[in-house]
């Protein structure tokens, strides 16, 4: 593998590929200067952090000693080739891996200085604080209203019906879906288009007012227009929520995230501000990946 990478690098150098990757940053939708400033300021608080995180599926080790800090109220993108462990890492952050048989997690994951894998921690409460949006839109086969109201209902967030109505309204509003579904909240959520379903899933996730939203390739099943919708939405949500997004689409990572982590074969290869990663990657593997040489 290493040899191949080196070969790739040679190719990059000989084929004048550096120009190619230099063009990548121009794909950034006019990076807002203030947001860049914001993340560069040392005051930016760390929301989630992992130290020496190892994950095993039975005999096989999927993640090796991952140290990663996720800054609060920003978008962190996880990129890397398929099977590199980025989804596994994401699922460690709200303990979704618990449901997989034979999955063992060692090392530390902290949210606001609280250990995620502490025995006394209530995993149900944790998942209310850390929401998740999946690759394939997976609304419940219930009405649109019930989809969004489900979280508040099971966590007892609404005192009465009007309260619940309000939560549903604001969640749909924030997910940018309200205008489209306002008059058909009773219809099944599965009847919406793919992009609408995904936004419904986001509305469902934010209905419980989580602190963090994890997104596992949220746009990979959507067309470009729906993708643009979701990306806009992610950018808006960043004001209130800490977002960690796994993506295969490097342009997407460049467009929506402030921080990017590159995973490869279970290792965290490089982690830096998105601009840094895409303009001057330190590791040759990162460089190879973002220029489309492999992965």
């Amino acid at each position: 593998m290493k040899k191949k990478i080196l070969l790739d690098m040679e190719e990059i150098e000989t084929n004048g590929a550096p120009e190619t990757f230099l063009t990548v940053p121009t794909a950034l939708p006019d990076p807002e200067p203030d947001s860049v400033m914001e993340e560069l300021t040392p005051t930016s608080k760390t929301k989630l952090s992992t130290r020496k995180l190892n994950v095993f599926y039975g005999e096989k080790q999927a993640l090796f000693d991952i140290d990663l800090d996720v800054p609060e109220c920003s978008v962190t993108a996880l990129i890397g080739p398929s099977g590199c462990g980025k989804s596994t890492f994401l699922r460690c952050l709200n303990r979704m891996n618990d449901t997989i048989e034979g999955c063992v997690v060692t090392g530390g994951v902290k949210i606001d200085d609280q250990d995620l894998y502490d025995r006394t921690l209530d995993v149900v409460e944790l998942r209310a604080r850390i929401g998740m949006v999946f690759q394939k839109p997976n609304p419940f086969p219930k009405s649109i209203y019930d989809n969004v109201a489900y979280g508040p209902r099971i966590h007892g967030l609404a005192r009465d019906r009007t309260d619940l109505d309000e939560i549903v309204q604001t969640s749909l509003e924030r997910a940018g879906l309200l205008r489209e579904v306002e008059d058909r909240l009773d219809e099944p959520g599965t009847g919406l288009s793919g992009g609408q379903q995904q936004r419904l899933c986001i509305a469902r996730a934010i209905a419980v007012s989580p602190e963090v939203i994890l997104m596992d390739e949220p746009c990979s099943a959507l067309d470009p227009i729906a993708t643009a919708h979701i990306e806009e939405l992610i950018d808006e949500l960043r004001e209130k929520y800490t977002i960690v997004i796994v993506t295969h689409n490097m342009q997407q990572a460049a467009r929506v995230s402030q921080k990017t982590a590159f995973f490869h074969l279970g290792f965290l290869v490089e982690c830096n501000s998105t601009e840094e990663i895409f303009t001057s990657p330190q590791d040759e593997r990162t460089q190879g990946y973002i220029t489309g040489r492999y992965g």
Binding site: M96, T99, R127, K136, N138, P141, G151, I154, T190, R204
Partner: protein
Amino acid sequence: MTDRPPNGAGAIIAAEAAARRRRKRYSAERRFRRYGILSVFLALGALCLLIGSMTAKGWSAFFQTYIVLEIELPRVELAPGGRVDRAALHDANYVTYLRRALRAQVPDVQSRRDLRSLYRLLSGGAGLELQKRILSDTSLIGGKFRFAAVASDDVDQFVKGHITAGGGGKISARQAGWIKLLGAAGMVERRFNVGLFSNGDSREPELAGILGAIMGSLFTMAVTVLLSFPLGVAAAIYLQEFAPGNRWTDLVEVNINNLAAVPSIVFGLLGLAVFLSFFGMPRSAPLVGGIVLALMTLPTIIIAGRAALGAVPPSIREAAIGMGASPMQVVMHHVLPLAFPGILTGAIIGAARALGETAPLLLIGMVAFIVDIPRGISDPATVLPVQIYLWADSPERAFEERTAAATLVLLAFLIIMNLVAVIMRKKFERRW
């Protein structure tokens, strides 16, 4: 890429070979389709043959021959002193009135022997029917009214043309003459056989009905469903959703699959040994029958339930877990509602199998001759398939058609249950 020339002899040969292969593939497909259609028709044909022959044999059992008699009830005898005494009415001999009326129609019968054979045209139960009629309407006393008395099974069979008169048969030539005479007077009628659906079992075929067996079946099924459905669904949910995947669960799974394949009579032996001998439960009771059938149905429901639960897409589970639902909530709010149609189908098919089951019930005494209609789960009872078995064993010709009729009723129940399964599945089915 290719090493053969795009044009020329090689290409033509290759194209011909490809066309040959294509033709072969198409004909293989056509052949396969024909086999499929053939097997479907064979199955349908077998079903039609079964239902057709049962209907042909059993249809006449839905009708019964009655002899309509003009009954006179003298007030002097039944209500002496002008007062109707119900206790006295219970003890009165109603057969006398029937016989009197019958004799009035056939005046030339004199000898005791002939009279006896004349009276034998009527069913032994006709007197009881008359009593019931009078008790329900005492104003009939002191007047004349037309009463349809049940004819005996031999008359019934003779009228239906199933047996012939004379030659030492069940109906003598003289009796045949009387029947003809009564028929000419318009007194022999064929009516819908209400008794078949309102009576319990009887030694007299013309009085035998399936209500007792239907009630027995209903009570048994109630016990079976109430026991096996909740237990089966709970077991399926636990095994599918919660059980850790270790050696023990594997063992349990293998044994459940084994249990589903155990011959049903073994469950009957278990019922006999455990419930009757050890626990001393009542013999012939729907309670025990229901428990035995529940044990038999349980594996079917568990297997169907697990399959239905396993078919729920994992994305729904993940979505619910991601929302912070507890494992119980994931199952109850999302997985179970989606799996319910499948579980229900499995349960109804299991119940339908239990409804048609005979062997285990024979062993726990539900094969007894029971005249009374059971009123509860601990009354002695029999069930439809056992009733069919009992009647099929009886020598009277009239029981033959009743056997077929009871089979038709059982088939109707089974078809209704399967129909309900289909409708329920359609109704609860949700897309995801």
